[in-house]
Symmetry: C2
Subunit: 212 residues, 2 copies
């Protein structure tokens, strides 16, 4: 399986690395990180850089593409290069997927028109701008398009995809291989479950970051 994960300045590291860790363990998988220019690409907090092994142009037609989100997704959309790559790659892909605000990149590429989709909980409404139907599920699959909710949900999405591609046994073996038996110390991972003052705190931090 030939998988490409496009990077852009300000992507969120876990959005990309969660699915990578799952999908790279598929039998015969090749994962390539790609970007407008090969080389290091800085993640959103500016403290991590992942190396893009190839330019977007060098990997025009992967079987699977997985677009991460990030704080700078809107700048990446405005830049246009990743969007154009997604538009073309989607013409021949087996699976077109996103994590978090990566869905907005799929949307800008026209992939989500008329489809149910999900994204980061604070950006669900933005999906309407792309003609998609915002759906509050952690993983949303419509045909060969699979979108995931925020950041960490890429792990769940990739395991779902692994099962579709290679069967339940392989997906479960990958889950055990990464010992994914989640036990968060709190149950605050969704807007519905988190205490109201915590939701307010996250909204305030997000608003301070992007005054849009």
């Amino acid at each position: 399986v030939d998988i490409a994960i496009p990077l852009y300045d300000g992507f969120t590291a876990l959005d990309a690395v969660g699915p990578y860790e799952v999908l790279s363990n598929l039998p015969g998988a090749t994962v390539r990180f790609v970007a407008a220019e090969p080389g290091p690409v800085a993640a959103d907090a500016g403290m991590l850089s992942l190396v893009a092994a190839a330019a977007l142009d060098e990997v025009p037609a992967p079987e699977i593409l997985c677009v991460p989100g990030g704080r700078e997704t809107r700048a990446a959309i405005a830049d246009g290069r990743v969007v154009e790559w997604v538009r073309r790659a989607h013409e021949t892909s087996t699976w077109t997927t996103s994590v978090c605000t990566g869905a907005l990149v799929l949307g800008a590429a026209g992939v989500l028109e008329g489809l149910a989709a999900t994204t980061y909980w604070l950006q669900l409404d933005s999906l309407r701008e792309c003609g998609a139907r915002p759906t509050e599920q952690r993983v949303v699959r419509v045909g060969r398009v699979v979108t995931a909710a925020g950041v960490s949900s890429g792990i769940d999405m990739a395991l779902t995809l692994a099962a579709l591609i290679a069967g339940d046994d392989v997906a479960q073996a990958i889950q055990l291989g990464i010992e994914y038996d989640p036990q968060p110390p709190f149950d605050a991972g969704s807007e519905a479950k988190a205490p109201e003052h915590v939701v307010d705190l996250v909204r305030a931090v997000a608003a301070a970051r992007s005054p849009a």
Copy 2:
């Protein structure tokens, strides 16, 4: 908070990036990836490189260190440089932590002598060689030493640590910020829960990788 994550050839990407994504969101946090030499460091499957921003020597005394595991942990221990760095950093650290087989690096540095600790489920027995007491919990804290189980458990460990450092509200805000409301499609993330033939499959793959 000043956090250092040491990298070495063959580390597991999610071991490092899970805690990074949590800890980098602590108020005032600085996370630095460090390695024997600054520059790209290849993760275990050879398809991902993370950039070490600094040499180990440049960051001798972080407040928090978090050592990832990987398929090549034993080679890293034999190399000695990360082990020696951990030994010295632990003298002054506030928190010394590991994910997966990163615990074996802590062990080689003498950090786990006499302590309860955990690591990747297939390597629990190896902890005895370091004088530690293998403990089947996802996150094990003894004083300022915190070890986590395999790969994805670094997220749970880092959230636990975030609460200890900055309080429950901040930890929950980080959890909501990364939308960590895990919903794996299977319940196969531990040896106890996975079907027996899946456990056998993972054991066989691991044995083929390291014939030790």
